[in-house]
Amino acid sequence: MSVNLLKLKIDGVEVSVPEGTMILKAAKDNGIIIPTLCNLEGLAPYGGCRLCLVEISGSPKLFPACITPVGPNMEITTNSDRLKEYRKMVVQMLLAERTHICSVCVANDHCELQAMANQLGVDHVMFERKFTQEPIDSTHDFLVIDRNRCILCTRCIRICDQIEGVHTLDLKLRGKDSEVIMDLDEHWANSCSCTSCRKCAKVCPVGAIYIEGEPIGHTKNKEIAAFIRDRRNRR
């Protein structure tokens, strides 16, 4: 099967990538890292966190790089002053939306949101913080979910559906009321479909899903989705 290669420019660098590749992946393959919190190699792209927004010359709109395929002769800017400002704003909105207090979080120092805030130079939150107080579900033998720390990236939902294949997790409601649920919004211990595979905890970018008593640095494994996908493809 022949692959149609497209020529385009990312941050002024000429690259050629196969047709159908998403901008985020094309940039990464050429050494340009675009910030993201929801995208994860091995899972279908979601386009939820809006951190990977890029500019494409000829359009005043911003495009989420993870779900925008490359086009011929595109000229993409991944790191303009405007984008930097917007990304800082996105991180601030994520921090304001629920209860993110690093010093009392299991994921402190292992948190992608925290790292992103540091990387982008977010030093204040200019929005009113919500400080939600949802009850924590620790009914499961060892998996715990604290929805106050959730950023709704849906990695856990996607890995549960696309890799583990049981689709125990999903989102309920919408907007600021959205929550990750198990089956029909049951307590985790009562979930009839959960296989306790731990993959949700491994890919959670923050401290929302974690394993009780296990150091979080030991739990987290961002490569697990791509690893399982590749192992499956070998067969």
């Binding site: 559906d161 049981v166 689709h167 125990t168 997790l169 999903d170 989102l171 309920k172 409601l173 919408r174 649920i181 198990m182 089956d183 029909l184 919004d185 479909s193």
Partner: protein, 163 residues
């Protein structure tokens, strides 16, 4: 045949009409709510099994749309319009007064199941703002006194009949 069995047969007919297709979930939830009045967890589990869709996904869809009711509505339903015009005209104060007077939160029913308080986004009668719908009657240019009296009337009306 019990009422429950009849309803299940009607639901089965709807499921068959759509050939148990996953893509018909929204339409089936619509029809199920028509048949049962609301969607409780047993019903959602039933639909999830029939269409072979994960329960969490069915629950996600049913809660995404405010049209679907997951709790049994009370015998009497009071709906406050929280559209822009009604909001500006102070419907919020009326809603708060109703919540206090009848000890019911919006989106919920009283513990005895006699009264539900719901909110909606614009009923299309902005000229009459603020509007509150008590059962099927629209009260335009509502005040909290009028609304509370009206609710007391419909609640009291039942008691008189029961006597």
């Amino acid at each position: 045949m019990s009422k429950e069995d009849k309803r299940r047969i009607m639901l089965e007919k709807v499921l068959k009409e759509h050939n148990y297709q996953e893509s018909a979930l929204l339409e089936i939830l619509h029809r199920a709510q028509e048949i049962y009045g609301y969607l409780d967890k047993d019903l959602l589990m039933d639909i999830s099994g029939s269409l072979n869709i994960p329960p969490s996904h069915v629950f996600g869809v049913a809660t995404f749309y405010s049209f679907f009711k997951l709790r049994k509505p009370g015998e009497h339903v009071v709906t406050g319009c929280l559209g822009t015009a009604c909001y500006v005209k102070g419907v919020e104060k009326i809603m708060e007064a109703v919540e206090q007077e009848f000890n019911v939160k919006r989106g919920h029913s009283t513990p005895d199941g006699r009264l539900s308080l719901l909110v909606t986004r614009c009923i299309g009668a902005c000229a009459m703002a603020p509007t509150i719908v008590v059962d099927d009657e629209v009260i335009g240019k509502a005040t909290k006194e009028i609304v509370i009296q009206k609710i007391k009337d419909v609640l009291g009306g039942d008691k008189a009949e029961n006597r």
